[in-house]
């Protein structure tokens, strides 16, 4: 225990303010997580020093575009990254245990507590296996007997609005996208997890089906006190499901805070750019197009200083020299920017 305390104080010296956001009793603690790939002689940094906490029953939204590293973070937490040519740094502490230091049997014990739901529900199932076997797979690996297994599979399917009878003898391709996603959730629920990583779970679904699955996740989260890490590029969905939101850009967190703070008073220019780009179903005024010229940004070689500076309307010379660190903002969130915004997001009514 003293070991952990001393490590905590050491890090506090670097980023004293961030401590307010990271607490000791969190279920999952991620400190300085980094993931590097070596491909063709070059090293790509997918995740570069990411830190956050997730409390029991809390939902953390990870928002970012392609190349932000959000999917990689999710996989790194569950130790699903390929072992070859990948270096993982930093610390992941689950329920007080350092995940990297666990033995094989310790890791297996933890597996059932951390589960994942993937973006494309159909491809997350082995097309040659029957659905009931798929849902019961985790239990089978744990050695649960057949009778009990079928019972738990049925209960998990009930929780998502289906039943064993509905899926009996059938294979994944006989179900629709929304049904498959619900089966995927049932598969994760069957092993009674405490934390679920949802990697773009509704991205490939129609709007009407999306609503079902989102509501379902909310219900399950509430009833089972599940912690969720919700990874998505869809800011409206993230707003709906998350308590806390972290905005990622090129492998780093550029802003992290409560959903309210981030959506009402986004501080980082990238967050603002994202929010402004989201298509809103409001036809009261026609959109005025912005400038159309574009700039090729290479992901392998991030710019010096702040990574966002090449696309940032507020960039100054200091942004190229000094990389900004996460600092507290007036609304309570943390943003890594030398010139953060302070005003309300356009379209938000000021709180009376």
């Amino acid at each position: 225990m003293s070991d952990k305390v001393s490590r905590k104080t050491a890090r506090s010296a670097e980023t004293p303010a961030l401590d307010v956001f990271l607490h000791d009793d969190a279920l999952l603690k991620v400190r300085d997580l980094s993931v590097r790939y070596r491909r063709g002689g070059k090293t790509f940094v997918a995740v570069d020093g990411v830190s956050f906490d997730v409390a029991p029953g809390e939902t953390l939204g990870l928002v970012g575009e392609s190349g932000s590293g959000k999917t990689t973070i999710g996989r790194a937490l569950l130790k699903l990254l390929p072992k070859a040519d990948t270096t993982i740094g930093g610390e992941v502490v689950y329920d007080g245990m350092d995940v990297a230091a666990l033995s094989a049997s310790g890791l297996r014990a933890i597996r059932s507590k951390l589960q994942m739901i993937f973006q494309d529900p159909v491809s997350s199932f082995n097309p040659r296996r029957k659905v009931q076997d798929i849902v019961g797979e985790g239990l089978e690996i744990q050695g649960v007997g057949r009778a009990e297994r079928l019972g738990r599979v049925n209960r998990a399917l009930n929780d998502v609005g289906m039943s064993l009878q509905m899926v009996e003898g059938r294979r994944p391709h006989q179900f629709s996208g929304g049904q498959c996603q619900r089966i995927a959730i049932a598969r994760a629920l069957a092993v009674e997890p405490e934390l679920m990583v949802c990697d773009e779970p509704v991205a490939s679904l129609d709007v009407s089906v999306q609503a079902h699955v989102i509501n379902l996740l909310q219900d399950i989260r509430k009833n089972r006190k599940l912690a969720l890490i919700f990874i998505s590029h869809d800011l409206a969905v993230v707003r709906n499901v998350s308590d806390k939101v972290a905005v990622l850009y090129m492998g780093k967190i550029v802003e992290i805070g409560t959903g309210d703070a981030i959506y009402e008073r986004p501080a980082h220019p990238y967050t603002r750019m994202l929010l402004e780009a989201v298509p809103v179903p409001d036809a009261s005024h026609k959109i005025v197009p912005g400038p159309i010229a574009t700039q090729a940004v290479s992901r392998a070689m991030p710019p010096s200083g702040c990574r966002f500076r090449l696309r940032c309307p507020r960039a100054q010379s200091v942004c190229a020299e000094l990389e900004p660190k996460l600092s507290p903002m007036p609304s309570g969130q943390f943003a890594a920017c030398h010139f953060p915004h302070d005003e309300l997001a356009p379209g938000i009514l000021a709180a009376v």
């Binding site: 409001d282 036809a283 379209g347 009514l349």
Partner: protein, 351 residues
């Protein structure tokens, strides 16, 4: 649809509309009988107008634009008429129809990763269309291609002319595809889910680009998407498809502020909004999309509609037209006129 087609809803245009679809229907032969993909779809697009076609997967929107472009899959039986700039293309044989439509309409496809031939240099891709349809010579076509690439915002267009597609990011590839579609100076540009595969910031760039180009070249445009947010601020009119039927068709602002068809209203309410607090329960649409092989008689949305009556299940509702003739919907139990959705309320309050 029994609306007389010679009463144009807008100011009587001097020129014929760029595209006029009349009672377009498609079905596909299958071992189980005909799969009806489109039923009596009618709409028209005038010069410099943008039409948004929205629907979920299986609604038939992709099939609709492919049919219009003449690239519907083999085995698709098409009935009805398509008039492009006054010319009845459905009367032409397939080869001539494709040649005609390829010249007049340009299309941008969904997945830029797979829609550009990876073995062909980008410049040649852009040139091909202009050389084939316009008969331009080599040097002319090259100059035009470089100009087009620059006009869609590709930096260093002259150099990028000789690059291969894989050297570009997704957003850039989509710009290249837009350049390809513009090569023949079409009258109508069709964007079929053109931004679905792109990041949200890139999506905005591409949609902005399309708007600017449309304005510069005075083209008409069709935006096909399942995302209502995309069509909201960028289209003049919107066509809502469900189960291959047109369920609502009218000016965008009217449809969003006062959707009349139950499906449109449900769809608008089911979308999560950024201005709603976290953990708001979303309004869902029960049931699932209609069965194409065994379409039920009556309104395709009836099995899922909270307001459905007996007659909704029994027969297909006819198109009701609003007082000004511009807003159409096919519903026996429409939402009341003047009733605004919660979102529209907030939208108005904000602006």
């Amino acid at each position: 649809m029994n609306l007389p087609t010679n009463t144009t809803p807008d100011l009587a245009p001097v020129q014929p509309p760029i595209l006029d679809c009349r009672d377009l229907s498609c079905h596909f032969r299958s071992p189980l009988g005909p799969l009806r993909v489109l039923h009596n779809v009618s709409f028209r697009i005038s010069r410099r107008t943008t039409l948004g076609i929205v629907g979920e997967s299986g609604a038939g929107k992709s099939m609709l634009v492919k049919t219009i472009m003449g690239i519907a899959p083999d085995g698709m039986q098409i009935s009805g008429r398509i008039l492009a700039g006054g010319t009845d293309v459905s009367a032409l044989n397939e080869a001539r129809r494709r040649a005609f439509l390829g010249r007049k309409f340009g299309m941008v496809f969904q997945n830029p990763m797979t829609s550009l031939n990876p073995f062909v240099r980008v410049g040649r891709l852009v040139e091909e269309a202009s050389r084939f349809h316009l008969g331009l010579g080599k040097a002319q076509a090259k100059a035009l291609a470089i100009e087009l690439l620059a006009s869609v915002g590709i930096p260093d267009a002259a150099e990028c002319y000789s690059h291969y597609p894989h050297q570009f990011s997704g957003g850039m590839k989509q710009r290249i595809m837009i350049a390809t579609a513009l090569a023949c100076q079409p009258d109508l540009l069709i964007a079929d889910e053109a931004t679905t595969a792109l990041d949200v910031t890139v999506q905005k760039e591409i949609l902005d680009l399309l708007q600017v180009i449309q304005h510069e070249r005075q083209m008409s445009m069709i935006l096909v998407t399942h995302n209502l947010g995309i069509v909201a601020g960028r289209t003049d009119e919107i066509l809502v498809l469900y189960g291959g039927h047109v369920v609502e068709y009218g000016p965008t602002e009217t449809v969003f502020s006062n959707p009349r068809h139950r499906y449109t209203e449900a769809l608008l309410s089911a979308m999560p909004r950024m201005d709603q607090p976290a953990h708001t329960k979303l309004r869902t649409i029960p049931g699932r999309p209609p069965d194409l092989a065994n379409p039920a008689p009556g309104c395709p949305f009836a099995p899922r509609c909270p307001a459905a009556e007996v007659r909704c299940h029994a027969s297909m509702p006819p198109m009701t037209v609003s007082a000004d003739g511009r807003h159409r919907f096919a519903c026996y139990v429409p939402v009341e006129a003047g009733a605004a959705t919660a979102a529209a309320d907030e939208g108005r309050a904000r602006s």
